[in-house]
């Protein structure tokens, strides 16, 4: 029998005891934590109705963070685990060795930090903001247990969808679907006494297809359903309220329509744009979620994902200032169901909802314990890692534009001359997130309040602040969607997050082909 997440029940006391014992014996360490996780998953992929791959497996790993040394510094060690490692005796040996390595790295790092202080006076000891130390077990919540779904059922669901996608229209050149359903369980123990045992289900379906008409470039469609739930996501309990097959066929119809559409042209001037909830999912991700992550705020991501225009220094930043029209509100809430759902973050901080933008005014940033301490903010539990073996980073959670009061139909009806930007495709953002170009799956011309023509290859670009300040209508049609592929960190970590919003109306330049 393969190892499963129940193994944490037998390992929990061993791990907790090791952490408490080592907390007393590592003389130069002020803090350390350990995450041990196991994920059970099943997945299948098919193309054009034929099976390509099926997997029924588990993944286990652990990671250790230590703060130690003269000017206290970080050290980290992470490792994958196999079946033989998940026995208490062997696990204890590996954990002790890992703690020793992380501790050694922290001390070596602290030694050099102390020497460099002469030429780099901003070097400081690591401080963590205080949190409530918790001990809790959170079971996975689902209607249909992913572990009970036969692999063959997952494969057949994938094959049926890709077969019907391919058969929908002669222009469909390629149709592929991938479905994955999983349960992850992660144990967090800290030298402060935290013992948090958290389980989460995750289920996701992906469609990827291309359609070509005549000699024109193929049109490629790519989209997902997904939620922190069980197999019910595939059967229809998702943001589309649609089973996976219907979702896949809807996306195929969209792609076929687009393959025969005219390409949009770039405009020199701003135009009125109405952006739908799916499009605003990526918009809020890129121009609110990422720029409010505190590690970017503190310039820690300068070499990778960039800085943020919201913070120049402690003295000069946008907190408390207007960055959007009074209609703009944004929240980050890991406690609500969505792809960024959890109860505790990867540092054992209780998840909580925070208001990021209130009536157009920037209120706060998403943070972890170290960044909260530097900023003098209260920790808000936004640290996550792709796997226990990787270092936690500040990540957006369910980060969303808040709903308004207007009927979205009326938002379009009021536009005499403009464009309806429907569903996101790909983003490209400036270094400090101050400017964006995000393409859409579809763009419609609006004339006298009606959608009159479909374009392909379009999108919009604008300065982020200008766009937010120009928002003059917010719909009452709030929806949240999954983004499973948010990349950050070195080595790159791919994270699931939830984003969304209502229909918005603003101004931007159109971008085309």
């Amino acid at each position: 029998m393969k190892p499963n997440s129940k193994i944490i029940d037998t390992l929990k006391s061993t791990v907790s005891e090791i952490v408490q014992k080592q907390a007393k014996s590592l003389r130069e360490s002020s803090y350390f934590d350990l995450r041990l996780g196991i994920g059970e998953f099943k997945s299948a992929r098919s193309e054009n109705g034929t099976s390509k791959e099926a997997l029924d497996d588990y993944e286990a790993s652990f990671g250790i963070r230590v703060i130690a040394g003269e000017i206290s510094s970080w050290g980290f060690y992470g490792q994958s685990l196999g079946r033989k490692d998940l026995k208490p005796g062997e696990l204890e040996r590996l954990l002790l060795s890992g703690i020793d390595t992380a501790y050694g790295r922290a001390k070596a790092n602290a030694k050099r930090k102390s020497e460099f202080k002469k030429i780099a006076n901003a070097l400081s000891e690591v401080r963590l903001a205080k949190i409530k130390v918790c001990q809790e077990t959170i079971p996975a919540e689902f209607e249909i247990d992913p572990r009970g779904i036969p692999l063959q059922k997952i494969l057949k669901t994938s094959m049926n969808a890709s077969k019907q996608m391919k058969a929908l229209d002669p222009s469909v050149q390629f149709a592929s679907t991938t479905i994955k359903t999983a349960i992850t369980r992660e144990l967090f123990c800290s030298s402060e006494g935290a013992v948090i045992d958290q389980s989460l289900p995750v289920t996701q379906g992906v469609v990827y297809l291309s359609a070509q008409q005549g000699e024109a470039s193929p049109e490629v469609g790519y989209d997902y359903v997904g939620d922190v739930r069980g197999w019910e996501v595939i059967e229809g309990k998702n943001c589309y309220n649609s089973n996976f097959l219907d979702f896949a066929l809807e996306r195929t119809r969209d792609t076929v329509d687009l393959a025969g559409a005219e390409f949009l042209k770039t405009t020199e001037e701003e135009v009125v744009v109405v952006t739908n909830p799916h499009y605003n999912t990526l918009l809020v991700h890129e121009i609110v979620g990422h720029p409010t992550e505190a590690d970017r705020v503190l310039k820690m991501e300068t070499a990778y994902a960039g800085r943020t225009w919201l913070f120049e220094s402690q003295e000069r930043n946008e907190i408390g200032k207007r960055i959007g029209s009074p209609l703009v509100n944004a929240f980050s809430d890991p406690t609500r169901r969505g792809y960024g759902y959890y109860t505790y973050d990867a540092e054992g901080t209780p998840a909580k909802a925070i208001t990021v933008i209130k009536n157009g005014v920037l209120k706060t940033f998403l943070n972890g314990r170290e960044t909260a301490a530097i900023l003098g903010h209260e920790p808000n539990g936004s640290m996550r890692a792709t796997a226990p073996s990787m270092v936690p980073l500040v990540r957006m959670t369910n980060t969303i534009f808040g709903p308004g009061r207007k009927n979205p139909k009326n938002i379009i009806k009021e536009v005499k001359d403009g464009y309806y930007i429907h569903n996101y495709r790909t983003p490209s953002i400036s270094e400090s997130r101050e400017h964006f170009r995000i393409s859409a799956q579809k763009v419609y011309k609006i004339e006298n309040g009606k959608l009159v023509k479909l374009y392909r290859g379009g999108g919009i670009m604008a300065n982020s602040k200008d766009f937010l300040m120009s928002v003059d209508a917010v719909g009452n049609d709030f929806k949240m969607f999954p983004i499973p592929t948010c990349g950050k960190g070195q080595p790159m970590q791919i994270m699931r997050v939830g984003n969304g919003g209502p229909t918005l109306r603003s101004k931007a330049r159109l971008t085309g082909c």
Partner: protein
């Protein structure tokens, strides 16, 4: 640490075991041990910071079995892997998983047969394999030393940011199959990718060093280069939107290649009808001056490996010759599926890359190795700039994506550092970072190449394993949009 001899013994015994299983028609065993060490750097002069933010590592070893089974009247293929176990018990568990996971894939023809003999021998650095934690941490501090001394000597002490990382990857792999594949490999790679800023001057500079050996790895130089480049771009100017001739430096060319061009030249993209070069094999797709090839057997390049993760010797795959599309990157699966009477791709690009490097946990996909971009006629950088006369030199771009999908070929990106206006055939005023967005199409970029330098530099971009041996290229008629606050 697992030795190469242990991995080789494991795959040998595993294959013997698998050959004795009646239900197995063919099988391939791939075993690997990886140690990925990252020393992440973050120094901010005006915010409390750690200098070296965290020294960290990810370690993993195990084996994967890809097997063909008989089921009913057809052949089915399955994959299974085990972690931290190279024993026969582990092989048995992996086989059980492969059997549980088997599917009928009509496009799976066979496991690859061996073709030639690998050319690379003993090209890794044992000193890297055996580096202590203290020594690895020190590499990060050397970067800081290079940058900080440069800034301090220039009198720049406030609003300084130094970020990036030193990454060390140690890999050992062994593979054996019932089709005669029998290979092993050890690689070491070191990279430093550094960004340095003086925020109040709104300038950013980039420096990097890539090497397979410690002796030729220069993290301190990378730190110094980044700081020098930042200082050099003080006093930048903006430019108006319009079409400009542009010289793309090493990093922007590597970025365009990594994120747009090379994915378009993969058979996986052809299979999905998701490339702007669909149906273009044998046709002109660029300036006739351009040649592009992938070669995983170049000694001294960190993209090199002795064998692919399908056990085949690495070597050269021509992609573009004299401006004509002549090939695609292939693994065995797509090579067999998409070959025809006119085109039979050699599967030199089958790799099992994850963030850990070559990883036993996954099957071989398609990945480039070292990609050489060169011209039939090459020139110097000075001549290239003289040729442009009035335009832009772009030294670093960011967030480069095929914005309307790969098949259409539209590309967008922003210029974030290391860039200058070209006036009267000379490098003139620096360009203010973050004020220009490039909106172009990869097909147009290739067609509009008007010059290529002889001097090249091995370059890699964030999140990618590929090394682009990048010249600097001049391209006419590039659409630039003035943006920013």
């Amino acid at each position: 640490m697992i030795t190469i001899d242990e991995l080789r013994a494991s795959v040998h015994e595993a294959l013997h075991y698998l050959k004795g299983r009646k239900e197995v028609i063919d099988a391939e065993v791939f075993a690997s041990w990886n140690d990925l060490i990252t020393i992440r750097i973050n120094y901010t002069s005006d915010i409390p910071s750690n200098g070296v933010q965290e020294p960290k590592s990810l370690q993993s070893y195990g084996l994967g079995v890809l097997a063909l089974f008989k089921r009913g009247g057809r052949r089915e293929v399955g994959f299974g892997s085990v972690t931290n176990d190279l024993s026969i018990g582990g092989v048995s568990e992996a086989l059980t998983k492969a059997k549980r996971n088997m599917v009928f894939d009509p496009d799976f023809k066979s496991l690859p047969d061996t073709i030639t003999i690998p050319t690379l021998q003993r090209y890794h650095d044992n000193r890297v394999m055996e580096m202590s934690d203290q020594d690895t941490v020190d590499l990060g501090w050397k970067v800081l030393k290079g940058s900080l001394e440069t800034f301090n000597n220039g009198g720049y002490k406030k609003t300084i940011i130094i970020g990036g990382d030193v990454t060390i990857l140690k890999e050992r792999v062994a593979i054996k199959s019932t089709r005669g594949v029998d290979g092993f490999d050890e690689t070491t790679s070191l990279s430093a990718n550094i960004t340095a800023m003086i925020e109040k001057e709104k300038v950013k500079g980039t420096g990097w060093s890539l090497s397979t050996h410690l002796d030729s790895f220069h993290p301190e130089e990378a730190g110094r280069e980044a700081a020098e480049s930042a200082i050099r771009t003080i006093g930048g100017r903006r430019i108006k939107s319009g079409k400009y001739p542009v010289v793309f430096g090493n990093q922007p060319l590597a970025d365009l290649a990594t994120n747009v061009l090379l994915p378009s030249l993969s058979l996986a993209s052809v299979n999905a009808s998701n490339t702007p070069f669909l149906g273009k094999l044998g046709q002109k797709i660029s300036s006739p001056n351009l040649h592009i090839y992938d070669d995983g057997s170049m000694k001294g390049e960190i993209g090199s490996t002795r064998i692919t993760c399908e056990g085949l010797p690495t070597g050269r795959t021509d992609l573009v010759a004299n401006g004509t599309l002549v090939g695609f990157l292939a693994n065995s699966y797509f090579g067999e599926k998409l070959k025809n009477s006119l085109y039979h791709p050699l599967p030199r690009s089958g790799f099992r890359y994850t963030s850990m490097g070559r990883d036993y946990k996954v099957k071989a996909g398609i990945s480039p190795t070292n990609v050489m971009i060169e011209g039939s006629i090459e020139t110097t950088r000075d001549e290239l700039i003289k040729q442009i006369k009035n335009g832009l030199y772009v030294g670093r771009i960011w967030y480069t994506y095929p914005i309307n999908g790969l098949a259409i070929g539209d590309v967008t990106s922003t210029i974030i550092a290391d860039s200058f206006l070209i006036r009267d055939g000379k490098i003139a005023t620096p360009l203010t970072p973050n004020t220009i967005r490039i909106n172009t199409n990869i097909k147009e970029v290739l067609q509009n190449i008007i010059g290529i330098t002889q001097e090249k530099r091995s370059t890699s971009v964030w999140g990618s394993k590929v090394v682009v041996i990048a010249p600097e290229i001049a391209v006419s008629e590039v659409q630039l949009e003035s943006i920013g606050l």
